[in-house]
Amino acid sequence: MAFVSSGYNPDKPMEDRISDIGPRFYKEFLPPVLEKNYGKWVSHEILEPGLLVHEAESGDKVYTVRVGSARLISTELIREACAVAKQYCDGYLRWTTRNNIEFMTTSLESAKALKADLNSRKFDKGSYKFPVGGTGASVSNIVHTQGWIHCHTPATDASGTVKIIMDELFEEFTNMRMPAIVRVAVACCLNMCGACHCSDLAVVGFHRKPPIIDHEYLDNMCEIPLAIASCPTGALKPGKTELEGGKKVNTILVNNDRCMYCGNCYTMCPSLPLSDKEGDGVIIMVGGKVSNRISMPKFSKVAVAFIPNEPPRWPTLAKVCKKIIEVYAAEANKYERLGDWAERIGWESFFKKTELEFTHHLIDDFRDPAYFTWRQSTNFKF
């Protein structure tokens, strides 16, 4: 494994240096039919699950086959997708914002062959490599974060929880029998890189224990004032403590009752870790959306305050997700998003129908916005 240089000279880092050139220009990568009809598309139709057709003013048509992916993928799998694109699509392919891969062709026959080919490709242990679906009134692919595979603050895994939820809801990915689109998201901590705060169904990793203080190292590792300032609830203060052996050190003291376990202090100071096997788990949030369609965009609401981490297959989480989706699918009107359905029937009915327990943890107690979620009315349902 000898070091091979591509040409960079560390002695003269500025020599021939190219920087700030940005990404490649997207039009280099547009399939010719898309470039020709850019901005001149007139309509589209979903011919069958995972197969779309778009029609342009010119009469040109492009057929798209959409497949799910795990997001965490190897160059091997990317190369296989590229080979498929070369075989059927003149080498063009794209990803969607929900981690699906799309293959486009101008012939329906070719699109159908493409769909069959993609559905036939499986890993050795049987899971699909490129399952076709994720269109229309379905559960599309889950947007998610890194989890235990690569992040330093997660309270749960993301790739694993996504795998078990999508296994559970696989039929809903390959069919279009939901009342409306169901957007699912997983974020492995409250930072929510995965946009859980506005999804129909969202899983959020969550710690439940205040940070452990690594007194011995804290003052050497961290800027104490920065870490203290990072706490949204003022739970931290500077202090001193005596280590075993009598050495006195500057450190941070935590008011445990004020901690909301957001992990922001840990991001500022690695001597304040808070992950814990029993403490960590997930929250389930429901009813958010980003579209302006029919109703306003809205935030997700907490439906289950805590489900423990149960790796590798998180059975309780899978069961609760499936239950919520099933009840929604059975009860909601056509075009009605999950949050709109819950608002129409009332949240008290939502909990009854989904058989989820309403606990004190579901009543907001965080700052001003909490007040706006309490009921100031006698209009409620028994």
Partner: protein, 437 residues
């Protein structure tokens, strides 16, 4: 034979959804076989150790990744995120495992040959594992060592005409929906403005100068496929002002059942015959539509462009011709002060190359936020702390009813001294002439 046994992860190989564990194992195998004879620049068993480390997390329920530390390429403050595992003796292959963010082309389109070139580079100098894509949109390369960073950057820029994305307190790589490439709803050229802004603001993207991260997202229409309203500090959403264009013959074809509603999105279930009254007219949030005598009419002045009717009958209805964008500011996820949705600042603005009107708003907002924002405070939090009026003031935008969902319910109105005749300085002796002590 696997380097580390993974009995827990193995249970994620069953079930229909693509198994990332199967993919990782296969990738590890190919790396060992090394059929192309690549002079691997990071350990051959990097993926084995990644699996071993993840198995350990599955056993003990916590992560094994440490804080990043400072790594990157010369002259950039973003684009690379340092990552080290906390069990380097057991898993030396991932002792150093940095993330590289590669700026994505607008709309996430690729040519296979180009993608394969990137894969070659990443197999040679990295782990071969990726996220396609990260939540902000970049191509994410997971796992390389510090000595490889400059080499990766050199090769990206010199051979592939490709730059890194953003991280840290920088502008993050702007992202957009599919836009005009393949969507009939696009009211603006989302891909073009995204590409233009990405290039225009490269300095902000690569060199930290903000209080915290800053995200642009561009949605071509109010359907919001890239979630700009919820996920970006500066949300630009395509919209239009004039009449929705109606093809009455196509409306009749929907009513008659010749064209499936909602582009066939509900085909998996029998919802009964399409009923335009129930499914379109009655669901219109502003009740601005009528279907009478076989003719659909829309009272444009009452329409607030929610997209529902257009989504249901895309072959009959089209967005109007007077197109532009709305600008909304301040969305963010919950940390620290709770989640925020973007708030409307500019109801309508032209969205044509070179986008000078929009850039002017951007730069005024940045000037203010860089001056007033606290360390690690997102724009939305600064706006909340200092008030929407302040935002209007610094952007020279006139207050209008569109800015609020409803006027304020409390009368605690702040006035500026120069708004009150005579100002605030008064003479107590003059006052006492009329009021005894």
């Amino acid at each position: 034979m696997a380097k580390h046994p993974t009995p827990l992860l193995d249970q994620l190989e069953s079930g229909p959804w693509p198994s990332f564990v199967s993919d990782l194992k296969h990738a590890a195998e190919v790396r060992h076989k090394n059929p192309k004879g690549i002079e691997l620049q990071i350990p051959e068993d990097v993926i084995d150790d990644l699996l071993g480390l993840l198995e350990m997390s599955y056993e003990d329920g916590t992560t094994h990744w440490k804080h990043g530390g400072i790594v990157g390429v010369f002259g950039y403050g973003g684009g690379v995120i340092g990552r080290y595992c906390d069990q380097p003796e057991k898993f030396p292959g991932v002792a150093h495992f940095h993330t590289v963010r590669v700026a994505q082309p607008s709309g996430l389109f690729y040519k296979a040959e180009y993608m394969e070139e990137l894969c070659d580079l990443w197999d040679f100098r990295g782990s071969g594992m990726t996220n396609m894509h990260g939540s902000t949109g970049d191509i994410i390369w997971l796992g390389t060592t510090t000595p490889q960073l400059e080499e990766i950057f050199y090769e990206l820029t010199h051979k592939h005409n490709q730059d890194l994305g953003g991280s840290g307190s920088n502008l993050r790589t702007p992202a957009c929906c599919i836009g005009m490439s393949r969507c009939e709803f696009a009211c603006m050229d989302a891909q073009h403005i995204c590409h233009t802004f990405t290039n225009e603001y490269q300095d902000m993207l690569h060199r930290p100068q903000f209080p915290y991260k800053f995200k642009f997202k561009f949605d071509g229409c109010p359907n919001g496929c890239v979630a700009s309203i919820a996920r970006s500090d500066f949300s630009i959403i395509g919209t239009w002002k004039d009449d929705i264009k109606i093809d009455q013959a196509a409306v009749k074809a929907y009513v008659g059942g010749e064209i499936p509603p909602n582009a066939g999105a509900h085909a998996g279930r029998d919802w009964g015959k399409f009923d335009i009254q129930k499914e379109v007219i009655d669901l219109c949030p502003t009740k601005c539509m009528k279907y009478e005598g076989g003719k659909l009419t829309i009272e444009t002045a009452e329409c607030y462009r929610c997209m529902h009717c257009i989504n249901v009958m895309p072959k009959a209805l089209r967005v109007g011709d007077e197109r532009g964008a709305s600008i909304l500011l301040g969305a963010k996820a919950p940390i620290l002060d709770g989640a925020q949705m973007s708030s409307l600042l500019v109801p309508f603005i032209p969205c044509e190359d070179p986008y000078d009107e929009i850039k002017e708003v951007v730069e005024l907002v940045w000037d203010w936020w860089m001056e007033e924002g606290k360390n690690r405070e997102r724009l939305g939090e600064t706006i909340k702390r200092l008030g929407f009026q302040k935002l209007l003031e610094v952007t020279n935008i006139k207050p209008m009813a569109q800015h609020v969902r409803e006027p304020r319910t409390n009368p605690y109105i702040f006035w500026k001294e120069d708004e009150v005749p005579g100002g605030w300085s008064r003479d107590i002796n003059e006052y006492r002439k009329l009021h005894q002590r």
